[in-house]
């Protein structure tokens, strides 16, 4: 306990030192003429955030990253749930099949999956006379949700497996059937343990949305590489720094909250 609080204090001091250094560096840099570059960044901030110049309508930019992240997460949660159920199924073939798909997706580099979507999904399909066209946005969302779903399935399997085997035994000895045991005993306990992992996964996915630039979707990195490519080289450094900061400010609080929840579930009995 004692060493734990001392460790926490040191960690806080280290973080403060880093923050202080960053502020000092920015102030110093501004004195050396960096302020002009910052002004450039600020004038283009609406573009970075929404993909459209001065008007605040969402055409891309960081908002697209957020949107892609949320959509992919929603799809991944649904797919991952199905895959997770298959992983726990009594039928051995279903289980093995799900296991192979999950491991394949979990061990593929995300960027390769995104490129694969580019070539696997057609530009448009004719269905009952109506033409569906797959936009880069759609492809990016599919490409991102696949590995996320596989990771979520593994989180589900881990959480269910982490419930003590004594819970199964006592529920069975009370006459519960398998489905009832999942519903009444295992899932309520597993769910609590899944949530931190799910949140971490979302933060990870959010970071990975930057990779979607390979599909040509107008997200923030694509903007940096196209619309903003004619900025001066020094200005670009500031633009990239700003984008890094955006991702950090969005993802870090999620990771923090997840860690806090995780610590709380650790205190659970059994």
């Amino acid at each position: 306990m004692l060493t734990d609080t001392r460790y926490q204090r040191r960690k806080r001091l280290a973080l403060l030192a880093i923050l202080g250094a960053a502020i000092a560096w920015i102030a110093f840099d501004a004195l050396l003429g960096g302020s002009a570059e910052w002004a450039r960044v600020i004038s283009r901030l609406p573009l970075l955030l929404t993909g459209s110049g001065p008007a605040w309508s969402i055409q891309g930019g960081f908002a697209f990253n957020v949107l892609m992240g949320m959509l992919s997460m929603a799809i991944a949660t649904l797919l991952g749930l199905l895959m997770g159920i298959a992983l726990l199924a009594r039928n051995a073939w279903l289980r093995r099949g799900a296991f192979m798909i999950m491991n394949f997706l979990r061990n593929s580099p995300w960027i390769v999956l995104l490129f694969a979507m580019l070539y696997l999904l057609p530009h448009r399909v004719e269905l009952f006379g109506t033409t569906l066209s797959f936009s880069p946005f759609f492809k990016a969302v599919v490409g991102l949700s696949l590995p996320t779903a596989a990771n979520f399935a593994e989180i589900i399997r881990g959480a269910v497996g982490s419930v003590h085997s004594g819970q199964w035994e006592s529920a069975r000895s009370l006459g519960y059937g398998t489905a009832q045991i999942y519903r009444q005993v295992i899932l309520p306990q597993a769910l609590r343990r899944m949530i931190p992992g799910w949140m971490n996964l979302y933060a990870l996915l959010m970071i990975a949305t930057a990779l979607a630039t390979v599909t040509g979707v107008q997200e923030v990195v694509t903007l940096l590489r196209t619309t903003l490519a004619m900025e001066s080289e020094t200005a670009l450094v500031y633009f990239y720094l700003t984008v890094l900061l955006m991702f950090f400010l969005y993802c870090y609080p999620i990771a923090l909250l997840a860690r806090r929840l995780e610590n709380r579930t650790k205190g659970d009995a059994i």
Partner: protein, 249 residues
Amino acid sequence: MTARNQSLIELDGIRKSFGGNEVLKGISLNVAKGEAVCIIGPSGSGKSTILRCINGLIPIDEGFVRVGKHRVHEIRHERGMRPLRRQVAMVFQQYNLFPHRTALENVMMAPVQVLKHDPGEVRERAIALMAKVRLAGKESSYPGELSGGQQQRVAIARALAMQPEIILFDEVTAALDPETVKDVLTTIRELVEEGMTCLLVTHEMRFAREVADRVCFTDHGLIVESAPPAALFDTPQDPRTREFLSQVL
């Protein structure tokens, strides 16, 4: 469904292996209605496995298991085990309460969800049982907020709420602090005195001598000796029993 004898529980020549490890090598045991039988023996001798064969938590490889009118070794499906599980309750060393439910909910869950009894009636029964195990007032505590001894008594109340004919106790005091052991043993003693059929695996030799009608000593998957407590503890016949008792007494 004829009983081969009058016992409530009848085990005949049961064998069980885990992988290549033969854990039970022909266990035969009869328990009559209202009888309290204690099983003692060294760690790993198969005591817990015997109990788990009785309520079908573990399928046996060979032999005959009957509880009341249920021939346990013939039941192939988990679903077929349900009527048996209503008749036989089990209390575990690690309590195995459901940590996400309060003490009272733990006691009420199975009668309502499995037996489909009326919740209002079950609630009254559960409150009475909590009082019986001397935990009145702890109804809305979560297992994590209770001491080991209190959790174990909730587990006993949970078993009783199923209105079983038989209760299997698997070293229920082994994980407890010495002070709380007494409360749990008192609760069990009362059940035995009320005539509940009990099969107890225990390391508490004094307790076994007090409450048991019969004590069985197991070693390496066999029941080596079985006798009334006075005989088994004072004049053990088998050298292995003598050696074990000299170590634990």
